[in-house]
Amino acid sequence: MMTEIALNILDVAENSVRANATLVEITVSVDEKNDLLSVLIKDDGCGMSSEQLRSVEDPFFTTRTTRKVGLGIPFYKQAALAAGGEFYIKSEPGVGTETFASFGLSNIDRMPLGDINGAIHTLVVYNENLDFLYTYKFNDASFTLDTREFREILGGISFKEPEISQYIMDYLSEQKAETDGGRNV
């Protein structure tokens, strides 16, 4: 069981990496008026057949061969439903996959968003062969991190260079603090 929504996002987005996506879009929205926290993860990876799609919510289905259970999506879905939210997953072979999860913001059973900056940083820095478009919305404010922009500036310099990795972490923390006023979601 994950303890933070951020870890679910990290886990589910890793599936996009394995699906050979070239772009993964992650949008986290906090909407106090409608009392909702929602997460959209969309990739342009290999997608899934309707048969596979039916089985991903089943914990006893996995594509891996090292073990017999696949808990990523079931954990994520359970976390959303337990917090009065909704969950769906859509996929088309050759087009990509999209997951959406919402959580009741003030629901007592909603796990904290957690270290979302750390999760996005890990995804971006350790998966340099694909691009991420991350958007964080807090009511009417928002910011984005687009690795395509960063890459264009950096040319061949790796995100793993300590200075760049630190810049990405600072970018995420400062932009997020500016967007949500440093709120603990």
Partner: protein, 124 residues
Amino acid sequence: MKSLEELKALRDKMQGSVTLRNESEASTRIVVGMATCGIASGARPVLTALSNAVAEKKIEDVAVTQTGCIGLCQYEPIVEVFQPGKEKVTYVKMTPEKALEVIDKHIIGGNVITEYTIGAIMKN
């Protein structure tokens, strides 16, 4: 707010001084399991601790990367160390603190911390 101008300044400062590192050429590979099992048991802070330590201590020739599940979920977070000419070392039930010890004693010092390896844990 961080601006992209700052990133451009960083780039200009680094260009020339940075020898573009090629990970496939790094002789030591430290690999962290980051599948559902790893993440749920705390692999992310372990990965961060390892890569920060490698950067801060300016250890050359070491690449920190991630992998999926190797089928030993009950022992996660798992860190594997691959070094040329040596047998793979599998550290289990890692924490950021233990990971730093691995950097100091094993990667820098050259001594495997046997008590954290899978062999030691399975004997108990």
